[in-house]
Amino acid sequence: MQVTLRIFRYNPEIGRTKPTFDSYNLEVEPTDRILDLMEEVKAYHDGTLSFRRSCAHGVCGSDAMRINGSNKLACKVLVQDVSSPITLEPLLGLRVIKDLIVDMEPFMESYRSILPYMVNDDIPEDGKERLQSPEERARFDDTTKCILCAACTTSCPSFWSNGEYVGPAAIVNAHRFIFDSRDKAASERLEILNQRKGVWACRTAFNCTEACPREIHVTQAIAEVKRAVFSGSLE
């Protein structure tokens, strides 16, 4: 089948300082992925096209972008699931460096701010490991699935209007440790998120939940963190 691929282009290095769209007509299979089409353009039509990709199987999260206006992973969307012309644009709310590549540093800075690692200086009872029941593990299972693709944060209208908002992804990753029975830094994380630029900037738009390629219940996770701030309970 024939499809038209419209790709956002911006490359100040070669004087393309004004964003434009380039169109490519391609002969494809309905089961091809959008990433396959991009690879074809880069290989056979325009080698200067720039985008991030790594695993190409929905695990690394590097090829998140706007596909026909919705945040998605290019490696997880099939041609048969979108209508032609297929428009590819960089994620919103982050500075575009070149073509489909955005500056992820503000996103990563927010991620680092919520202490995304286990904090526990206590010596385990048996001196070896910190045991956890299946129920305790299940409490934060959903938020362990985050791949930091930024699809949720860059779909959030609160983040678009205020880049200081830590964003859904940072809260999801805070949730992953806050509700982990082995972790001891929940109060620090809740204090970090108990600010105007923390969970209270969330307006429950649900864009994040819709955008998450891992189907994490993002808005629910944010609501659970809000409840923990008020109740002090980590159940």
């Binding site: 509700f179 204090e191 209270w200 307006r203 923990a228 008020f230 002090g232 980590l234 159940e235």
Partner: protein
């Protein structure tokens, strides 16, 4: 289950967020009852100055109307504060706008309360 309990500090943002939820819940019966009574049971064409005077002569209706005005307006003004925060990004600017909205809320609520109380004709009660 993680039975740990943690302590968190309370701040204006957290309080404002909770207020929006609680006032929103309270506004549902207040606003719906108001609309149902005035527009359906009584009917807009039956509402005249005499009806209003009789209604406001009742202390219960005075409290209801003042509550409806202050809660609905506070709910709306806090929403407006959130919108302002999307456009004003400095701490100082946000604080000034919040105070301005608070003052507007106080003045309009006071005018509304005065109108409700002063509009009453106790002899009709």
């Amino acid at each position: 289950m993680n039975t740990q309990k943690v302590k968190t500090s309370k701040n204006i943002e957290a309080t404002a967020w909770r207020f929006m939820r609680l006032s929103g819940i309270l506004l549902i019966p207040l606003a719906w009852f108001h609309v149902l009574l005035q527009d359906v049971v009584v009917g807009v064409h039956e509402i005249d100055i005499d009806y209003v005077a009789v209604r406001l002569a009742n202390v219960g209706w005075q409290i209801f109307d003042i509550l409806l005005l202050t809660f609905a307006f506070a709910h709306g003004m806090n929403g407006l504060r959130q919108v302002v925060n999307d456009f004003v990004h400095t701490e100082k600017g946000q604080r000034r706008m919040a105070w301005l909205l608070l003052v507007i809320w106080l003045i309009v609520s006071a005018i509304g309360a005065v109108a409700v109380i002063a509009g009453a004709r106790p002899e009709l009660a």
